[in-house]
Symmetry: D2
Subunit: 265 residues, 4 copies
């Protein structure tokens, strides 16, 4: 298709129709993170060989809500914000591959198609969901502050079922925004064979932010409730021990990754 333009699909002579433009992609947004420990066997069950559990704190999980504004290089999306704003909720664990520790997104929901398209490229297993998270605002009439006592709620639903809800109550500044989502991501990208036998393509990639900056992280107490659903296994990652909650505003640039392994079936 070298005579056609467009990063993903549909491809045309101009490339204007593509669901997503070429990277780099830019993001400004707010992250609400809840970290907790589950049974490491529940994490291991989500790691395809040869990925192994991370050597330390292998049962640690990060449940993250993000309220994003995003754009590509020409920033045109910012003036037509239906194409720029989206929300997501995702679950990150850690794993080990060839002696290196990676973060890995095991479940993720977003509310726009361009975010699904980016996830196809980045190896995030995105479904559609409905996510909400409390916003801070300079005027407190109906908003918390990013400060001691600030209370932030977050919810996730998909297919008309509530899947998760969290409340984080900020107490103090923190040195980090948690540790589970702090490594490069190790993700699979797969395309099943059209004839129905295994995968036509399967690859393990590493990726992460090319550049990121952020404001002061605040941490505090967190509650997290997970609910069953017939097409989800999120609730299997039971909340056995709470680590903590975090709130941080960030700006991020993403621009590709590298192949760790091409998998032949």
């Amino acid at each position: 298709m070298t005579d056609m333009q467009g990063f993903l699909y549909p491809r045309t002579q101009s490339g204007a129709s593509s669901l997503i433009p070429s990277p780099p992609w830019f993001y400004s947004g707010d992250l609400l993170t809840v970290e907790y420990r589950t049974d490491p066997a529940r994490v291991k069950a989500l790691l395809p060989a040869p990925l192994e559990l991370a050597p330390d704190d292998p049962g640690a999980v990060a449940f993250i809500w993000a309220d994003w504004q995003s754009c590509s290089t020409d920033r045109a999306e910012l003036l037509d914000p239906v194409r720029s704003q989206y929300k997501e909720a995702f679950v990150v664990v850690r794993c080990s591959f060839q002696g290196v520790t990676y973060s890995r997104c095991v479940f993720i929901w977003v509310d726009k198609d361009f975010a699904i398209g980016r996830g196809l490229h980045q190896g995030y297993p995105k479904k559609l969901g409905s996510m909400w998270q409390t916003r801070p605002h300079p005027f407190a009439q109906a908003a918390p502050q990013i400060a001691a006592g600030g209370m932030f709620g977050a919810t996730l639903s998909a297919s008309d079922r509530r899947l998760a809800e969290a409340v984080v109550t900020l107490k103090e500044p923190a040195a980090t925004n948690g540790f589970v989502n702090g490594h490069p991501m190790a993700h699979h990208r797969v395309l099943p064979d059209i004839a129905g036998t295994g995968d036509a393509y399967s690859e393990l990639i590493a990726t992460g932010a090319k550049a990121a900056e952020g404001g002061q992280t605040w941490t505090g107490d967190a509650e997290l409730r997970l609910f069953d659903a017939p097409t989800e296994e999120l609730a299997d990652l039971t909340v056995d021990e709470m680590i903590g909650g975090y709130y941080r505003q960030v700006g991020v640039q993403w621009d590709g990754g590298t192949t760790l392994a091409k998998i032949t079936s």
Copy 2:
């Protein structure tokens, strides 16, 4: 129904089911305003007698987008933000009643049912729409700042048609957030007769914020495009002369109003 509780409907013994709780209601949010002049005859056509055109600048119109977080007294909505956050776009003109100048919302769209419910009480003629407005963010990777050069886009659609889109480019601080939406609101509240002849109830009320505070308003250049639709008359308020664009973050409390006139049909 004195044996039942609940501010609007459905009413029950506890009142917990009511679409909206009792006022006061609290709001934190961002306002993007475009003010312009249309033919005063177009404004007059939207004013039922005995409302008259405002004596000065009678063709002035404010088109306002708002990105809200809201709650009632117990603030429970803030931790379940699907019940707290909503967006709206609305058109305000001015009018005169018994020698006093009022603001009047002539068209408005929101994206949540609780906002429709509040509008029933306040006399805002709310329909459902899909509204988007660019958000400022501390990190500029994919966001403007509320500062010189900050560009904010806003769009409105309803019934799968785009009805309006605006771009405001900030230039400098301003003393006011425009003047068209600056008076108490004069709104009608009507309920058609169930037997089909006229209104069972019709009332002209005055209402406005009980208390409000806001950050520094910024003003700048504005563009506004209005589009036709078979069930809307928004585009009749043609943009004949641009006044300007404004951006302001505010916190507001609303707690009722007063009856100006009960209308017997």
Copy 3:
């Protein structure tokens, strides 16, 4: 507002902007009904005085899902079906007023604003929800038939929580489509006082279809599960004894009602 046109709001000189056109309104759609018995005290708790429990079978409840196409007299909505199609789920009980038995909708959710607008007029206490019900189709690859063995599911959610789900398995033709929703409706229409003390307007009306026709009703086994939510009391109407499930395709015309009592607060 005699110089303005438009059935509900916003009113203009042409009337074209009104959220809903004047009655009569026309409906073609499919009804999935589950009837059951709850504790009559739970029904009584939803009846404001002077409404009383129906004399026979006072704890009977009908939970109804409807998948509608609707229009007004000029049928313009049918060619722009975003303005014509909607879904709803609603709960009906019976009550007695001045010795006459009425049906009464105590809770209802719809997914379009024009349906909310009609409900304001008709006294249905409508909120927004997300409703889904299995559709019959001539080709059975992914659809049941309206026939013995046909299985129909239905779900209701609001504010990102699932509130109810039902399954009806058809067994045989039935003489009626249940009995709970078979009387004229006795509904309240209320508008709270803008100054905050009681209702500015409160009325008890009677209404029902002006004309209706329907296909063969089928009946069968039914399951119904109700779930708690912080702003709903639906689950208080516990399913103590199942009566049965029904499926029927209908065509309906609605054209107003009559006032039973004007209530002065």
Copy 4:
């Protein structure tokens, strides 16, 4: 990932979380088709080499709306219809590859994530949209019949802009449901390289229904309007000559395809 189950993603030990289950997939639904001719150069511009224009009637285009209920082998989706029902609108042209004529979907919009997931596998370039099409119903109060005089409207919007609208007025039974979408589909499946240079995977596949049945097709007059949008090129396929409109109810089974060519970049 041979130790993990799940057809697409996310993969787990049970496979229950996969966005889509394994084929075969089953569909019952209604198709509204408008066929017309555009400049063949506009079609050619959408065909990557070595695909060529179809030898006869190369400028023919089919614009199709479909209102589907769908399921996998265990039919569980049918009782939780939020996971079963979806709508789509898509544009099909024809092309020639190695002397064989294929149909090819060049643009498509759907309203559920599971439909996007199926499209990834089948090579349909799916985006999210909002589609509506008039439904036939046995009772004509607010519905057309599939019969002479039946009028059906259909609309497509995405990113809050209306992209297309059609009206088909049925006149008589027809032997076929049009001809443009009547061949096996020739689709590309692509995955861009994570390092940013070309495609990691690109394949040309052939696919089509494994089995299909349908009711009597009706044909009649058609209108079709296409609208510009900044991220779409749909309107470039100008309606130069109308061929006709069609309505048909169908049941379909899909179960994979074959590789026509693996493309190395």
